[in-house]
Amino acid sequence: MDSLIVRTATKTILPLLLMFAIFLFLRGHNEPGGGFIGGLVAAAAIILLAVSGGVRHAETVTTRQTAQRMMAVGLLLAWLTAVGPILWGKPLLYGYWPPGWEILGIGKLGTPLLFDLGVFFVVIGMTLLVVLQLVDRVEKR
């Protein structure tokens, strides 16, 4: 699909979509959203670039290599927040909420938010990696 209108429009709304994804992720603990949904929105935004303008176009924002790294980093982050508490004698996946840490609009801050960030990255990375590669295969055909 090669449409100038879509391509130009995507460029404009991409930052908005990405910001919306981060917004969804951050508010997740109290309002609809969260790492999984936020990750999907972010991935969908970049995939829109790929579908409208090709892999090259999308990879000006995120390359497949970056996607792969995001996935790895996300997984590592999630596992660290899961295993970390054991070092302090707490059970696996124990959630720690530093007293007094609170941000308006997000709510309290704690290790589950970091865990959710890991989910966020894994979802973006995995989705992008697979779909971009698929688009690439289609283009090379």
Binding site: H29, L40, A44, F115, V138
Partner: protein, 763 residues
């Protein structure tokens, strides 16, 4: 309290072995040898304590809920074996460093070796049945890696696999036996097992299971077939594992459990019977071999049979003979293996037909081999003589009825004379007579390096020392035998017992052995003609059958047709729902309270059904995909209406991505659905669709009519904010209450992602 560290030190040190090799280069063997040498020093320091009958114990909890503790216990029996393991381990590390000098994987070799040593120490010092099993399996795995060290050779890999399969399978039987033993005895601590086990109804099955473990590990007939193939291992490994340590683990286990399991007819006949057959079979099979290591392997099998037979007999003659026998065999067989490795290293062959008269070229090897062989043959002034005297004495004091007792004596004499003949062949045949060996251009044959002679020299000197002065072993053998018999006793070993029946039998065996050596060729041919590799063929056939069977089964189940996989999944799912529907048939159709149905809800329903009908009717794949997306969007609209915004968001996003992925994938397929599907296929697909649809409908009805457990929902509602500081229950469940599930899911997601990426990248 140092004991657990001593046992586990090998495991701790193992990962550093490759670094040591990189740093110490050619001296790596000497550096690695420090660890077993330190263990020897520690054990030697405990010697005075243990010789006075004291026991050193230490315990670390591991999995208390399974009654699994790292309980270690150093008594006479454990000390004897631990000294052999660490002592010979020291010599092997030095020998191996020289034998494999410059090998690119030397670090890996030492890593495996240290793991193996730790596992072996764990086996002989554990006082907990389950921990003993864990260490036991660890020896199987590390020996698999060691036998297959030259993994680029098929024979190595096959030999390693054979050893692993046979000893590993035996280990599983043994585990079952251990569980029976622990449950019957009321404790998994070996030293606390009661002596009344033999009166319990499950005694015999338990005994058989444990014996299978011991017999497979100690290469008893008919499980002996793995040991000759394990000779594919580098010689240091054979010298360590297959002469002195691992194969003796089964013997050790029998000795360790003797106090609680022995003294029954079942034990007497089963253990001594298999031992006796193995003893004779090992000797006879050794005759027809021509490879130095194969000869040593079969004589090892024979001697392991002897030890098992002795422990089967029980009583203090036999047990003392077994303990001296363990020591004797480790000393001479370890030496012979290392010397054979030296000969192989120098001449490039182990075929005894190609070797002869090497005494002038390799004088030190010749002397050491001769001394070790004399011990093997049981000639006075070497420890082998003492061991054979005890063995014959024990054979004259079995618990057998008279006729069987005499048969046992004959068998022992037969095995002894075969040992004499083979010992002559190994020493006289290789080092005397006309000089012959495969010549290599510009290479002058010489003795191996000192590092490769040190090990055999130390072992031979010990053989000689205790051969001349057997009294020096009195205390050690008394404590070891005492632990086996479960009573304290005093032992008086001596070189000269006066002229008695045992001595006469011993001299007869030597004379007959020399006679057999003189007609060796004809005997070996005779054996060759009569014996066929029955059990090896059975093993090969079983293995091949299992592999091809597994292949056929996999081919049937994993056929690679996506549509059939889907059909199976859907139909099984529908069947599962179906049986639930039958169970709740009564409540299923009681009209549920659906509340007020709104007009727009009906509109969504009509739209959805229209889209579905269109999907079924269209011939164009792209239309079908887009319509599927429409269905998904409509469903997410339903979620919105029933106030499940998280669900709706997720559904909408997934639908969007799915349409994109489908479109991309279908790019590779024909745009139109193929219309060559037969009417049968169409009817079948329709039927499956109807069944699955009915099941899904039933599931919804069930969900409405059968209320779920409200406590779960209430719990999350009540605790979401107080416990997890979040108001969005769905997300709190995902990242906090049930975050373990999420962790698993994203891990699978990442693995799947990498997998798909790899598949797509391929051609």
């Amino acid at each position: 309290m140092l004991l657990p560290f001593i046992v586990l030190s090998g495991l701790i040190a193992a990962p550093f072995a490759p670094l040591v090799v990189r740093a110490a280069k050619t001296r790596a063997g000497w550096v690695i040898a420090l660890l077993p040498a330190l263990i020897v020093a520690y054990l030697a320091a405990q010697l005075p304590l243990v010789l006075t009958g004291q026991v050193i114990e230490a315990e670390w909890p591991w999995v208390p809920s399974l009654d699994l503790t790292l309980a270690f216990r150093l008594d006479g029996l454990g000390l004897l074996f631990a000294l052999l393991i660490s002592g010979i381990g020291t010599l092997i590390a030095i020998y191996g460093g020289s034998y494999l000098k410059g090998h690119p994987d030397l670090g890996r070799f030492f890593l495996y070796l240290l793991v193996f040593m730790a596992a072996m120490l764990g086996v002989v010092l554990s006082d907990n049945l389950l921990a003993l099993f864990v260490f036991w399996e660890m020896t199987s795995i590390s020996s698999y890696l060691l036998i297959g060290f030259n993994h680029d050779q098929e024979a190595s890999r096959k030999g390693a696999l054979k050893a692993l399969l046979i000893t590993g399978l035996g280990g599983l039987f043994m585990l079952a036996g251990f569980v029976l033993l622990g449950e019957m005895g009321g404790s998994y601590t070996i030293s606390q097992l009661p002596t009344t086990l033999s009166t319990m109804p499950l005694y015999l099955p338990m005994l058989i299971l444990v014996l299978i473990g011991a017999f497979t590990k100690s290469a008893q007939w008919p499980f002996h077939i793995w040991l000759p193939d394990a000779m594919q291992a580098p010689t240091p490994v054979s010298a360590y594992l297959h002469s002195a340590t691992m194969v003796k683990a089964g013997v050790f286990l029998l000795a360790r459990l003797s106090p609680v399991l022995a003294d029954t007819p079942a034990w007497l006949y089963l253990v001594s019977g298999f031992g006796l057959i193995t003893m004779v079979a090992g000797g006879i099979l050794a005759l027809k071999q021509s490879d130095l290591k194969a000869i040593l392997a079969y004589t090892t099998i024979g001697w392991l049979g002897t030890l098992v037979m002795l422990l089967g007999w029980g009583g203090h003659y036999a047990v003392e003979a077994a303990m001296v026998g363990v020591l004797t065999h480790a000393l001479y067989k370890g030496a012979l293996f290392m010397l054979a490795g030296g000969i192989d290293h120098e001449t490039g062959t182990r075929d005894i037909h190609l070797l002869g008269g090497l005494r002038r070229l390799m004088p030190v090897s010749a002397v050491l081999t001769a001394a070790a062989a004399l011990s093997m043959a049981g000639i006075p002034l070497l420890l082998g003589f003492v061991a054979k005297e005890l063995l014959l004495e024990a054979a004259l004091h079995t618990g057998y009825p008279d006729w069987l007792g005499w048969l046992a004596v004959v068998a022992v004499v037969l095995a002894s004379l075969l040992n004499v003949a083979i010992a002559l062949r190994l020493s006289y045949g290789v080092f005397f007579g006309p000089e012959r060996y495969p010549k290599r251009e510009g290479y002058k044959l010489h003795d191996p390096y000192p590092a490769m002679l040190l090990g055999p020299a130390v072992l031979v000197v010990l053989s000689l020392l205790f051969g001349v002065w057997p009294g020096g072993l009195n205390g050690m053998i008394a404590q070891a035998s005492g632990a086996v018999l479960g009573e304290s006793l005093t032992v008086k070993l001596s070189l000269w017992h006066g002229i008695n029946l045992a001595l006469i039998l011993s001299l007869t065996a030597i004379a007959l052995g020399v006679g057999v050596y003189l007609v060796y060729g004809r005997v070996a041919n005779g054996v060759n003609r009569v014996l066929r590799p029955t059990f090896n063929n059975a093993y090969e056939m079983t293995l091949a059958g299992m592999l091809s069977g597994a292949g056929r089964l996999t081919g049937k189940i994993q056929h690679g047709y996506l549509r059939y996989y889907l059909m199976v999944i859907l139909v099984v799912g529908a069947a599962a729902v179906g049986q639930a529907m039958i169970r709740y048939a009564g409540t299923l159709f009681s009209r549920p309270d659906l509340g007020n149905i709104q007009a727009y809800e009906i509109m969504i329903g009509v739209l959805t059904i229209t889209a579905i009908v269109m999907i079924a009717r269209t011939d164009d794949r792209y239309t079908a995909i887009v319509l599927l997306g429409v269905v998904g969007a409509l469903i997410s609209l339903i979620f919105v209406l029933f106030s499940a915004p998280d669900l709706a968001l997720t559904q909408l996003l997934i639908e969007t991505l799915m349409v994109i992925v489908f479109l991309l994938v279908f790019h590779f397929l024909l745009r139109d659905f193929p219309d060559h599907t037969s009417t049968f296929d169409r009817k079948r697909d329709l039927l499956i669709s109807l069944v699955v649809g009915a099941a899904a409908f039933g599931l919804v009805l069930l969900a409405i009519n059968i209320p779920g457990d409200p406590t779960i929902t209430d719990y999350f509602v009540a605790n979401s904010y107080t416990e997890a500081n979040g108001l969005n229950i769905v997300n709190v469940i995902l990242v906090d209450f049930r975050s373990l599930d999420t962790l698993g899911e994203i891990s699978v997601l990442a693995i799947a992602g990498v997998g798909i990426y790899a598949l797509l990248r391929g051609k």
